[in-house]
Symmetry: C2
Subunit: 249 residues, 2 copies
């Protein structure tokens, strides 16, 4: 059997999704939980390699328990998993899927949110859950950021928005939508695409911040994309503001 699980997690205490030699990964904690439930070795596959400290409001994994797995009913998997998982990971729903379903390769696209807390005063409820970055965002700053975001939409080579260490050779991705909105002191960037390069959303967030602060103009964006040069884009915004928000299948 292969199960598809919709989960959510706070990434603060983890080294990212993927199991690594050192550090506590989401994948490792999920694998340990699944093996308690099924009482056999179980393969856990994720929909995305999220970085250390990045959160997920919606994330998908598949579970493939080995031979002789205990007979947990599909509808009972979320509650069984929640009972053995730490409080910062939740399982929302589970269903059986075909063997050829892959949470990553079957995805047609994803949507990320990036949250920036723009006030100089600290809001403890956003600590570790948004980038604490003081900036003045009025109507014109927000309009500039929205216009800049619009230039990312479409199919482009996003080499300028990929961390230098990446081994990806084809950096062409299609951004479906990209918007910025402000609610009180909280600036929310929301971007969907058919795929994302390593640190792409965080670099786009750092670049839009530069637009909001007047260090770049919205009309600089096409040139930055066209340059295919990481050094032309803005800083890589920190992980705590980033949320995987939706996965499209």
């Amino acid at each position: 059997m292969k199960y598809l699980l919709k989960i959510a997690y706070i990434g603060t205490g983890y080294c990212g999704f993927q199991a690594q030699n050192n550090g506590r990964s989401i994948q490792r904690v999920l694998t340990e939980a699944a093996e308690k439930i099924f009482a056999v070795p179980t393969r856990v596959t994720g929909c995305s390699r999220t970085d250390s400290g990045v959160h997920a409001l919606e994330y998908y994994i598949t579970l493939e328990p080995g031979e002789g797995a205990s007979g947990v009913k599909t509808e009972n998997i979320p509650r069984a998993m929640c009972s053995v998982l730490p409080e910062d990971i939740g399982v929302v729903e589970a269903r059986a899927v075909d063997d050829d379903f892959h949470p990553r390769y079957s995805a047609k696209g994803k949507e990320y949110k990036y949250l920036i807390y723009t006030s100089p005063a600290r809001d403890p409820f956003y600590s570790g859950r948004a980038w604490m970055h003081y900036m003045r965002v009025g109507t014109s700053e927000l309009e500039n950021m929205k216009r800049a975001a619009g230039y990312f939409v479409g199919e482009h080579d996003f080499t300028s928005f990929m961390s230098a260490g990446s081994s990806i050779t084809d950096a062409v991705r299609e951004v479906f939508s990209f918007d910025a909105s402000l609610s009180g002191n909280l600036l929310e960037l929301k971007v969907s695409a058919n795929g994302f390069l390593y640190n792409m959303v965080r670099i786009m967030a750092g670049t839009l911040t530069a637009v909001g602060e007047g260090r770049l103009s919205p009309e600089d964006i096409p040139g930055i994309i066209g340059a295919r040069d990481r050094s032309r884009a803005g800083v890589t915004a920190p992980p705590e503001g980033l949320y995987l928000n939706r996965v499209f299948y």
Copy 2:
């Protein structure tokens, strides 16, 4: 000088606002921070004795530094305090007030929120920040809870909604407003009054939950209030769902 500070905090790691012999209190941590800033003994007075684990979206304290205090400008106090406070306490603003201002006795009323996460699936983002209590809330359940909440409005003796250990003798309070709303799986109760008895909001939340689950009818509420008997009301809902939301001066 006497300063009035608007603060916010996540109560999870604290034994409540008030300094106690054992346990780490919000008041103690604020006092230590203020004494670092002013470099002299400083009196910290709060607007409410919130319980262990209770949060505050808006809370007021006064700071009274002793003789010889360092000359921190009022407008710099929030940032100075934030720089020495832990991440779960934030200072939003500060202003000078008259000597006779008291954050508790000068308050004309307060508003609390109580959050109930009603889905059986865990949302890690509400862990420790809402009461995880599975209940089905449809239109009729919500209507019943709103009707029940309405019976609390007005001036009543709330002895039935005060924890047994309290030494208060006059339990008459005026509830200004009380409403229930649902957003996704999150049920929000919001109540304002000229004052609250010990555990009053948590007992009202436990009682409204009983109405939502059909164990009490909205029309039972006047009789429960009239009985002046704690045993007639519902359970005391846990602290993690409770937020001090506003203080009226």
